[in-house]
Symmetry: C2
Subunit: 416 residues, 2 copies
């Protein structure tokens, strides 16, 4: 597939990708757009000019500050719009190519737009689905001989997170304060976290599910999974450690989570399907998925100290996940819980089998006991003020590259 638009072979956004997002062009109101090469396609303009006539969309859902209304039209409508763009920008199509006026209105340079949060999530769930991550955490804090709790291999453990504190890539976050228990025999203190961590995750975004009380069967799950993003589940390990029993993580997580701006539509990921790891014990029937439901997506984390260079500190892959996204959604819905358009379902930290493939500082420095030294001599156990954490992700095969771009966040000092 080629486009008449000049797209560098190094671009994150070839015509095979076409991810959706929300942008603001200079001072205009937010619109939905699609990334291609160095440009954003303005879907609101295309719709108003009649170029999306056959996609069955009744009103302009693209003049919006979130993709929710567009996503709520369903996955098939998303597919039609994406396929129409593949057609419109294909080398054979002169419709837009030769319409200089419309082309100018429709295409904005990426460098001239600000990317906003792609969805307003009504619900946000965070799973815990990497066997390597759960094993590392269990080994550190419980029993290295028996690191997994009895339920872990029977169900994709997860918890509800905070929807309102999810921010888009490029938004700096403040170091959170919270209750910390410094030593066994002293009372806790209220202080800025001393153990700020990232968690390398991916997340899927859903379209509307069934009414409350009805379940989504695992064989139906894909119909409701619309697209994917990169996700950084910021964590304050010391706050979390003191608060989390018996009701789970709360303020150790809810101060912020960061998401990449471009939602990669699931169709773009089709060439990258792979088998997941074997599951033993075999899951209960309601969690038994057929076919290849893991994805070969390379993931990297970079740490950039203030004024310094970005250094790669983690290299892993989404394919390692023990529980796949269909299993996660089927489990989430197995009690009749309703799924909404724009919901975010994050994977949990994605760690691989080797020590350079761990998706958090907690694991990379083994809870601070093995700090690493950055090339300029700085030592890190956790994330310092002024540090920028960058997560990148892409799938590549046979000359096709599907990039998720990045989620990049700078940590500011706590407000005292």
């Amino acid at each position: 597939m080629k486009s008449w638009l000049e797209i560098s072979s190094k671009s994150d956004f070839s015509i095979h990708n076409l991810p959706f997002g929300i942008f603001r062009h200079k001072k205009s109101i937010p619109h939905a757009g699609v990334a291609i090469g160095d440009y954003v396609i303005d879907l609101s303009v295309l719709f108003d000019q009649g170029s999306l006539k056959k996609e069955g969309i009744k009103k302009n859902v693209f003049e919006a500050d979130a993709l929710n209304d567009f996503i709520s039209l369903g996955k098939d409508t998303g597919r039609k719009v994406r396929n129409r763009l593949i057609d419109l920008f294909g080398s054979d199509n002169s419709e837009l190519r030769d319409n200089i006026d419309l082309k100018e209105k429709t295409l904005h340079k990426l460098k001239d737009v600000t990317m906003l949060l792609p969805v307003k999530p009504g619900n946000y769930t965070d799973f815990y689905s990497s066997l390597e991550h759960a094993t590392n955490v269990g080994s550190m804090f419980r029993d290295p001989e028996n690191p997994l709790l009895p339920n872990w291999k029977w169900l994709p453990v997860g918890y509800h997170g905070r929807a309102s504190s999810i921010v888009v890539s490029g938004t700096p976050i403040q170091r959170p304060k919270g209750q910390i228990k410094l030593s066994e025999n002293e009372p806790p203190v209220y202080a800025p976290t001393m153990a700020l961590d990232f968690e390398l995750e991916m997340a899927f975004i859903t379209t509307n599910g069934k009414p409350l009380g009805q379940t989504i069967l695992i064989e139906e799950a894909e119909e409701y999974i619309w697209g994917m993003v990169l996700f950084n589940d910021w964590s304050a390990r010391d706050i979390q450690k003191w608060e989390y029993q018996p009701l789970g993580p709360f303020l150790g997580k809810s101060f912020a989570s960061s998401v990449s701006p471009w939602v990669v539509f699931m169709d773009a990921l089709e060439p990258f399907r792979v088998d997941g790891p074997g599951q033993n014990p075999p899951p209960l029937p309601y969690l038994r998925s057929a076919g290849m439901n893991n994805y070969d997506i390379n993931l990297e984390v970079y740490l950039q100290p203030k004024g310094g260079k970005a250094v790669k500190i983690c290299d892993t892959n989404f394919k390692y996940m023990y529980w796949n996204i269909c299993q996660q959604l089927a489990h989430q819905s197995s009690n009749g819980c309703n799924i909404m358009a724009g919901d975010i379902y994050a994977s949990g930290t994605i760690s691989g089998p080797t020590s350079d493939s761990y998706g958090s500082m907690l694991e990379l420095t083994w809870n601070g006991t093995m700090p690493f030294i950055l090339p300029d001599g700085l030592e890190r156990k956790f994330i310092d003020d002024g540090d920028t954490v960058i997560i990148k992700g892409y799938a590549g095969k046979n000359g096709i590259k599907i990039s998720f771009g990045e989620v990049e966040t700078t940590v500011l000092p706590a407000i005292l």
Copy 2:
């Protein structure tokens, strides 16, 4: 305070109360309204007719299917609207009383309207703030000699719940299915819960807080607490028991929570402030609240088997809460987490000191070991299919009654 409108002394909705809600009159679109006597005041009509001119509201936020936009105008605007209604319906005011046409358009009989969910919550948190409840649960499942975990008296333990599955009173719910571990040595099964429970709670609803990263100090907390409702945090004990470690309750809760339709504005509760229980150890400074921040609100639970009579099974009071609502909000915000208009913050099960004041079947039947016998001979350990659970709440003093109405939910069989 008297009204020219005839209001029975037994009414839930005297002129002292004036709670806000969302209603649908016959087949018209949803509007915001206020309950008074046997009527709903249609705020959208009042606004369009110019009777809310001086309250500083620029557009009709009352023609809406949720109170969120109105609440987001702030607590002071809510107060102005409520005070204007106190004036407009006061016995001395002829403005509406003598305008037969406007009166007819503005007042709908309660029996002619359907009440909808009052807010669309962007976030829902459930706390665990009753000492008696936490002690009962800790005694049952951990150690009766030492029932509280070390953090319990230092911070109001809480977790994020599912916002999308909150339904309004009158909405039946399906018995949820889920993974249940029936015995230690057998694999889990996927089946309808055998331990469906209610949790008697109250919840506060917030207006917009500060930007992400900034905290709401405890002395500021009341400015952000807009009103209160009754709340039933439905729980499937067997699903919860198997799933909840280490990340807390998830599908054992997220199948449904039920809320009362009328949001009582905080001003109406002023006469019912009381001191809370002593707190020892004294809370850290960020959680130290001054003044009386508990409320004397009578709470009752009724159980009505299909075709049978409603029987009172619990009699307790909101005043027993160990952690008060200001402490809960200050804690929630203590890490910089942003608070949104329409968020729901539930108290956790409200249990009193005596065995007839426990706010859940888990405690009333001591995890099913002491089932109770209803007057018609039926036995209950947990909630059966066809049962209706009704929570009522009211404050009363010196002839003033502020009622929360009720939250009533019928349990339907699981969909198989």
